[in-house]
Amino acid sequence: MIMRNTMLASITAMMAAAPALAQTEVEFWHAFTGRLGELLAEQVETFNAAQSDYVVTASHKGNYSETLNAGIAAFRAGQQPDILMVFEVGTATMMSAKGAIKPVYEVMADAGADFDPDAFIGSVNGYYTTSDNQMLSLPYNASTPVLWVNRDMLAAADIDPDVDLSTWEQVGDVLDTLKASGNDCPLVTAWQSWIHLENLSAYHNVPFATKANGFDGLETELSFNGEVQAKHIQTMGDWAKDGKFIYTGRRNESGANFRSGACALFTESSAGYAGIKDEATFEFDVRPLPYWSGVDGAPQNTIIGGASLWVMEGQTDEEYKGVADFLNFLSSPEIQAKWHQDTGYLPITNAAADLTREQGFYDENVGTDIAVIQMTANAPTENSKGLRLGSFDQIRGIIDEELEAVWAGDKDAQAALDSAKTRGDELLRRFEQANR
């Protein structure tokens, strides 16, 4: 029965594709709606109009988790798309799925496409490459955390809006002043684990997990319960107790608070730019993510969040040629520069960053290059290349739970991080067992 349906489906598909006789269809499943969805559709249309050998069909499959699930279910049924968008926490899952994915470097080599891995920005692309620098998936939308500032609110508390906020010590002083002036929402954050633990570790060049944050093997163990992390989380916990840091939830619920002008400082992805620019009725600016001044090697570089494009196994050579063409098109400087300027996501190649600078975008939109600078100031170390941990979505859930215990004052930072490490390591062992 299933066999017959599959056959029927493929016959129908063949018939549907028949009018476009010579064109090979490349299927692309993604997770974008709204403005991002429109911009994605525009890229696909541009590609389709620019050549006649291939036609890319983009389909929206729900949010990140749903898209990944759709891809997995389709693979099990032998109906997988050519290209699947997967968020960064799914990287280890995809990587371990040998036989389900075809690494990008292989796709490029097989297709004989022009492909220079050195054209990409190391700290963006590093998340998705092997330890020996071979690209597994193509970064699509990558962002990094920065500090957003409501200048009007600082001024209202008699603080110079241009005050230096490079370090957490300086941020602490500003929070004291804000609180003393009666401000009831001095600091909020989005994505607490990503910003205040994962990026904090990379930015201070301390390991989040052993084995080069998991890049060197599945036997990795979490190590984010170190001194730097415990100090930071304890400080945040103290701020929470004093009403200087307001916790709003595990995701980016706080974005609404900041954009409506209710909060003064906001740690959030650089990709928050489009929304803040759109809605904010106050003066805002963007600063680099703060660091602790006493830590050696800080600031290193921050790491990315977002999604990358994975090529699925089991397609024809002709389709892989189309995939290679399309991925090359996406990483071309013009397309990348436009994407970067429209969305606030990072450019993935140096050429795109240079082009954006030449076009004068950074001069007109002050602060939009902060994220790029923060990512590229230093060559990434093994602590700041990225994270490659199995079951990472669940581990983030555990971290969320333990951090909530700190914000609520139920645990001190060290105890919470120790417990998160122990619980997370259990999941890593399970993942190792499943993928050995």
Binding site: I72, A100, N257, G397, E401
Partner: protein
């Protein structure tokens, strides 16, 4: 005279019950069997390999103190959802039963929430109780109460209970109202003439006569609270703060469909199946004895 149809032979009756048997087999026995089978493995998400672990998944789960804690959370949650949704529904049904004018409108309005999908209901309640912009939060603030379900576990539990019970009230209301209207007026009136006041009449006549409906609703609501509430939890709290609203079925959903840990997810659904099965047996063995048909 007894109404009983007798068939000759076995084939015709078998043919007649076949559709039901097929439905049960396809939609219950097959998936349940698959779950039991999968719970003995650690499969990778793409189905490329299956590692046999025997009872390893169960050992892993039951050895985990956080998983064991979610049994208690589930018990609290299910009890509250059942009591709240049935209690409120019964109260409203009693009121609606006494209503003479406009009861149609009243009934129609009460049934509406049942049409709202759990996830949508979750979002609705979440907006009202949003810690910074929620309407209810604002009014509570005026009254001097600082609502913060993102950090306060008890408030979070209260919110998911209300959101889960809300849609259920409609369903329970319908059944209670029908049952109330099926009670012969003459019995109640006779008691009234004998001088029994409303509360006495309710306790000694109405409540016992409602018991078959109450029992049915009890079973159905517990099953609902155990199995169908993950949408509400997912949209409102995601199981937090800390683990205060992580109920068993939410963990099945998030481990399986968000985290792709299919072995653990399958083992959890087997555990859940056993619990609900046991609970239903207990209900039929002990509570049903007190039901008057």
């Amino acid at each position: 005279m007894e109404k009983r149809v007798t068939f000759k032979g076995i084939w015709l009756p078998l043919l007649l019950v076949l559709p039901q048997l097929v439905v049960t087999a396809v939609f219950f026995f097959y998936p349940a069997g698959q779950a039991v089978y999968q719970s003995l493995f650690i499969p990778d998400p793409f189905g490329l390999s299956m590692k046999w672990v025997g009872l390893g998944n169960f050992e892993y789960l039951l050895g985990n103190s956080y998983y064991r804690a979610s049994f208690v959370t589930t018990a609290v949650f299910s009890t509250l959802v059942t009591v709240v949704s049935m209690g409120v529904a019964l109260y409203l049904a009693v009121l609606a039963d006494r209503l003479i004018k406009g009861s149609g409108v009243y009934r129609t309005l009460l049934i509406w929430p049942y049409a709202v999908a759990p996830a949508v209901a979750g979002v609705l309640w979440l907006f009202m109780f949003n810690t910074r912009v929620g309407v209810v939060t604002w009014y509570l603030g005026v009254l001097g109460y600082d609502w913060n379900h993102v950090l306060n576990g008890e408030e979070a539990m209260g919110l998911v209970v209300v959101a889960s019970a809300w849609g259920r009230i409609s369903y329970n209301f319908l059944f209670f109202l029908a049952a109330l209207q099926a009670i012969p007026r003459s019995v109640v009136e006779a008691a009234a003439i004998d001088g029994a006041r409303f509360w006495t009449r309710f306790r000694t006549i109405v409540w016992p006569l409602l018991s078959p409906t109450t029992f049915f609703l009890l079973v159905v609501n517990i099953v609902y609270a155990f199995f169908e509430t993950f949408g509400v939890i997912h949209t409102i709290t995601g199981g937090g703060p800390q683990q205060s609203t992580t109920i068993l079925v939410y963990k099945v959903f998030s481990d399986g469909f968000v985290a792709q840990d299919l072995g653990s997810s399958a083992a959890q659904s087997v555990i859940l199946l056993v619990i609900v099965g046991a609970l239903t047996i207990v209900q039929f063995k002990f509570i049903e004895r007190r039901v008057h048909y």
